[in-house]
């Protein structure tokens, strides 16, 4: 994340430190209070938030509030085990369902400081081929995926080469149609994908019983089986996409893509498709010790942190339009200003227990 530039900035500031400090204080930003003694808070986060927490600006914003925040990342569904006997103060999985599965003695309402829709990452030629076959459409530069058509094709085992209109099929596009996800046993983004697929496979009803699970289980297992070995985290999936080792369709957070678009580093030819049925990723803070309340409050309300959340591609709860505003300024028209304008349906995810059962059914262990 332009770390070297930051080093440069620091050097430059060192050269003109005195001047800068005076001018800045006088012109706008107000003098920052000297922080009191720093409290160190340790957390376990989903990898999609690793860049945000590692950013020196974010660290500085916490520091102004007297907090030193140090984090490790793990898959949202791994957290429950990792936290056992650990010395963590908080955890931020990438979904409220995963957050509900993490035991804590703290009973205050959980804070959701920011959220992110899940999107499909692909390339323009694949998107155009999908449009030609009715799997996707485009309005005002924003791509939308027809998830019912996708479910029908994928659950029937249709191959790219088996779609009705084969003209302009991109070179190398072959094999079964499926979206590559992370491993739903560890990662929240993939479990939300399964939640969505189970909704579509269950006649557009949220899975609510054992018989629902029995009905959709086999199709889900087939769908996940196509993928083979899965990566543990969305961050890995995105880095592999950047390195050019891609599957035709990858399931990732809007934030991963938006962060790069804002930084001007999104690989050329990255196309984002918004599913017309989608489940949002609610980044939810699970407080494990009393110290953590300061972290959730800071993430939810501190103006500097809220700005930075948007800059790292998230949609802050207190100002959801902020991300789109930032993106529009950078001329990224493929991100919609307002998710509602897409008319996507947002089915609620199943309960935490049922979702875990769905995951076990879709990816049986020791198969």
């Amino acid at each position: 994340m332009r770390r070297q530039q930051l080093v440069g900035i620091l050097v430059a500031f060192a050269l003109v430190a005195a001047v800068a400090a005076i001018v800045i204080t006088k012109t706008c930003c107000g003098s920052s209070p000297t922080p009191a003694a720093q409290t160190t808070v340790t957390g376990l986060i989903g990898s999609e938030k690793a860049d945000f927490f590692a950013s020196p600006e974010v660290q500085r914003a916490f520091s102004k509030l007297g907090l030193t925040v140090s984090v490790q990342h793990a898959g949202s569904w791994q957290m429950k085990n990792e936290l056992k006997g650990g010395s963590y103060d908080f955890a931020i999985p990438a979904s409220s369902v995963a957050a509900d599965s993490i035991p804590t003695a703290i009973t205050t309402t959980k804070v959701r400081p920011f959220y992110s829709p899940l999107v499909v990452l692909t390339t323009p030629d694949v998107a155009a081929f999908m449009k030609q076959n009715g799997l996707a459409s485009q309005k005002d530069k924003v791509w939308v995926m027809d998830m019912q058509a996708y479910w029908a094709a994928a659950s029937a085992g249709t191959a790219w080469t088996g779609l009705p209109r084969q003209e302009n099929r991109p070179a190398g596009l072959s094999g079964q149609i499926y979206i590559a996800t992370t491993d739903p046993r560890s990662s929240s983004s993939a479990s939300l994908y399964l939640a969505l697929m189970s909704y579509l496979g269950n006649g557009q009803k949220v899975v609510a019983s054992q018989s629902d699970i029995d009905r959709v289980g086999p199709a889900l297992q087939k769908l996940m089986g196509y993928q083979g070995a899965m990566l543990s985290s969305s961050d890995q999936l995105f880095r592999d996409f950047v390195a050019g080792t891609e599957r035709p369709l990858s399931w990732t957070y809007e934030s991963e893509v938006a962060e790069q678009a804002l930084a001007g580093t999104l690989p050329a030819g990255s196309t984002v498709i918004y599913p017309d049925y989608d489940i949002q990723s609610d980044h939810t803070v699970v407080e494990l010790t009393a110290k953590a309340a300061r972290v959730s409050a800071a993430l939810a309300t501190d103006p500097d942190l809220v700005k930075l959340e948007a800059r790292f591609g998230f949609r802050p709860e207190s100002d959801p339009g902020l991300l789109a505003k930032d993106l529009q300024q950078k001329d990224n028209q493929q991100f919609p200003a307002d998710l509602k304008s897409l008319g996507t349906s947002q089915p609620p995810p199943p309960t935490s227990d049922l979702l875990q059962q769905l995951v076990n059914r879709a990816v049986p262990s020791g198969q």
Partner: protein, 554 residues
């Protein structure tokens, strides 16, 4: 070290500063860091406390040393790498042997490891650092005869060329090395026409084509690094199997080109129908202490910096994983589909077992075993146990054990050869023959002096006889296990003269000596260098592990 970047960035920073002063619109301007030195010449202080991170990883990471040295200056984190193969590393983690011994893992891929759910649960913060697809490097002098456009070659074209005898190749043992396993997956996917992740049915369907293909494999290796060295050795006039192509990481092939003469240069072919890539995830073990976790975070942050990524791609020929960094100049940017890796251990292990027992060229393996007086007691017991494991005597069925169709010869020697036993493992129902090998192993007894060179000459003659009798074409190698110095019979000079008088085909048989007990390292290294083998050290690692590791070279 020259540090241009901060200076250039500093100019940019001044521009940023001006906008900050006038408008204050573009985010909050950073404040002066209290620790920044005003001189600008001193290197910045490390980002944290010194810590030595114990990392278990792949040997091809040796080319990362200069970058890790920089990382140490910038972060205070020293990386202490212990090398092992990807699959062996996976077993180490699965068995719980990594917990407490290492803080982190750094293999080309965690995919095989993650197929074991219990092992996957031990991993935290898997962070891909760089990427390299497994590719086919074709020798320039061979490529011109194939009439290929290197940018447009498919797996089946490669298969046809090998099947027609126009192309031979070297590849690592997929049961030990991720590059071999990745290639095997790519080949099985392409030859079966699999439309998704491989299944057992796909593997069965691809088998005939795979068997034809692997008849062209003339070189095997337990590690991608040794495979490259072996190619380089023959390309520069040394002995060994000459091959027309190497299956290896794109980065290894390109780095190797820097040291190769013109006609041996390798052209990288990434098959158009798909590749399997390594993304080198630096991975924290959940069992690591909290100081290690902090050091790990600082190290990964450094490795993912844009300037570090640029240096990685420029110096190691691997591809960057950070958006906005251009791949190094030698890397073509046209994309390739990524083939799925099998999604279950049974499928992956089934593919490996098929390779070892049915698909690959069979091996002719000769063990020269020192049973001189000094071997009495624990040493002989350890030797019997290590060899016993390869016969599955303990009930295990390791993919590194003796394979169906393998010819195994045991020579017990001291001041002279005590006995020779030859075993032909059948293609089906190998249990009886494996038990017979084990009973020979258990009959070994110690006594007498040490005549290493005489016995090696006997071994070469024995293999010549076996080859002449069978009239076949196998991977052929000698393992020399000794705990002492040669003190009887032929000298090193005698053996060298004997070896150089052998016909080229016979000189291509490597000796893999094992350093053990009071073994003379110089003597054994000399034997390895002369014959194109590799010295294995059983002083610092277990004899079991060494015998298993050598299987990758046989």
């Amino acid at each position: 070290m020259v540090r241009h970047l901060p200076r250039r960035a500093a100019l940019g920073a001044l521009a940023v500063l001006l906008t900050a002063v006038t408008g204050c619109s573009s985010g909050s301007a950073p404040e002066p860091a209290p620790t920044a030195s005003a001189s600008g010449s001193a290197a910045p202080a490390p980002s944290g406390a010194p810590y030595t991170l114990r990392v278990l990883g792949g040997s091809e990471l040796q080319d990362m040393q200069p970058i890790l040295d920089d990382a140490q200056k910038a972060t205070g984190v020293t990386v202490k790498l212990s090398y092992t193969g990807t699959l062996d590393g996976a077993n180490t983690v699965s068995a719980g042997r990594a917990d407490g011994t290492y803080d982190a893992l750094w293999f080309p891929s965690n995919r095989y490891l993650r197929l074991d759910q219990a092992a996957a649960g031990k991993l935290l913060s898997e962070t891909p650092v760089m990427d390299s697809p497994v590719a086919f490097g074709v020798r320039s002098s061979v490529l011109s005869g194939l009439g290929w456009d290197p940018a447009k070659v498919s797996w089946s074209q490669i298969g046809d060329a090998v099947g027609q005898g126009k192309l031979t190749f070297g590849m690592t043992d997929p049961a030990q090395s991720n590059s071999g396993l990745s290639a095997l997956i790519g080949l099985a996917s392409a030859f079966s026409g699999a439309q998704a992740a491989l299944t057992d049915a796909d593997v069965a369907k691809a088998s005939p084509a795979l068997r034809t293909f692997f008849a062209g494999q003339k070189l095997t290796s337990g590690s991608s690094g040794w495979l490259a060295q072996s190619y380089q050795r023959t390309a520069t006039g040394g002995t060994g199997a000459q091959v027309g192509a190497l299956v290896n990481y794109e980065s290894v092939l390109l780095e190797l080109n820097r040291t190769l003469p013109g006609d041996a240069q390798l052209t990288v072919i990434r098959p158009t129908d798909g590749v399997v890539s390594a993304d080198y995830p630096l991975t924290l073990l959940a069992s690591a202490p909290s100081q290690a976790k902090d050091a790990f975070s600082r190290l990964t942050a450094y490795l993912l910096r844009q300037d570090t990524q640029r240096k990685i791609t420029d110096t190691t020929e691997r591809r960057p994983v950070v958006a906005g960094v251009q791949p190094g100049a030698g890397l073509s940017t046209d994309r390739r589909p990524e083939l799925p890796f099998p999604g279950s251990r049974p499928v992956a292990d089934g593919l490996l077992a098929a390779y070892q027992n049915q698909l690959r060229r069979p091996s002719r393996t000769l063990y020269v075993l020192d049973t001189s007086g000094s071997m009495a007691g624990d040493r002989l017991a350890n030797l019997k146990k290590a060899l016993g494991l390869l016969t599955g005597a303990d009930g295990s069925h390791s993919v590194d054990g003796f394979r169906d169709r393998e010819q195994v010869t045991l020579i017990s020697f001291a001041d002279a050869v005590k006995w020779e036993k030859v075993h032909q493992v059948p293609a089906d129902n190998p249990q009886n023959e494996l038990a017979a090998i084990d009973s020979d192993v258990r009959s070994l007894s110690a006594g007498g002096g040490t005549a290493i060179y005489d016995t090696l000459e006997t071994a070469y003659r024995e293999l010549a006889g076996q080859q002449a009798q069978a009239g076949d074409d196998r991977f052929t190698s000698i393992v020399l296990m000794t705990d002492g110095e040669s003190n009887e019979g032929a000298t090193a000079g005698d053996f060298s003269a004997f070896y150089k008088a052998l016909p080229a085909g016979r000189q291509a048989i490597p000796v893999f000596p094992i350093l053990f007990g009071e073994g003379a390292k110089d003597q054994l290294q000399g034997i390895a260098d002369l014959t194109g083998g590799r010295l294995f050290d059983a002083l610092t690692s277990s004899l079991d592990g060494v015998f298993e590791e050598i299987r990758g070279y046989q």
